[in-house]
Symmetry: C2
Subunit: 137 residues, 2 copies
């Protein structure tokens, strides 16, 4: 009966151990881990006026295709938020953040056929593009 008890204790402890691991891993639902990648590529687009609904729809569809490139870990597609302070630049039309594991993966993205097609299809729509690339310190 001692052996049987020990076995049950082992099973129970294993169960708790595995569950604890699961819970720890599940903590990544709020990751606080650097946006999924060490390489951040943030692009701002200023589209040419007038920015009609058709222009917006075409540009957003192109962006949504662009962000399917495989080496992207995570992304954020946005427009200026409703915040106003002296230090805030809210003059851009669209913001696109893509994150990558490293610079090599971002290099693949730069020359990817989908990226080249995005530039070819959309470069006539913008008057300015500004990029900030940063790597984890």
């Amino acid at each position: 009966m001692k052996n049987e008890n020990s076995r049950r204790k082992f099973i129970t402890k294993t169960a708790i151990g595995m569950t604890a691991t699961g819970l720890l891993v599940s903590g990544c639902s709020e990751p606080k881990e650097g946006l999924g990648g060490k390489f951040i590529h943030h692009v701002f687009f200023w589209l040419k006026e007038p920015i009609t609904d058709d222009v917006s729809a075409k540009f957003e569809a192109a962006l949504k295709e662009l962000i399917t490139i495989e080496t992207i870990v995570d992304f954020h597609l946005g427009k200026p938020a409703a915040t106003k302070r002296e230090v805030i630049d809210a003059s851009y039309t669209y913001s696109l953040i893509t994150t990558f594991k490293n610079k090599d993966d971002q290099d693949i993205y730069q020359t990817h056929p989908k990226h080249l097609k995005f530039i070819e299809d959309c470069n006539a729509l913008w008057e300015r593009v500004l990029v900030y690339d940063s790597e984890t310190i």
Copy 2:
């Protein structure tokens, strides 16, 4: 003995079930879900020259304390990457991205004591701050 067997089976099944849940949730390590929040707050800092090791250490320590504010979902703390193209601005010293569930959570961050302390302790170190806030389209 039948009851005892059933109990052991239940424990084992529960363990597997809970572990499976953990593994499923752990899939979020590659979220592709918008960087954890709909509100993106991207700040660039240009520190005053000379940027000594002491200045860098002080500023980085302050940033690491800043990003512990509770309403931050995820963050990225970076320096300019080694990329060079005409559209890239790599002139800044530090980049800080923080993501929030929504604008309200970012508003809490703005007036949080830790944020106010960060500004008080570090504003003499920078010559320029530029902010881009964006919300998911």
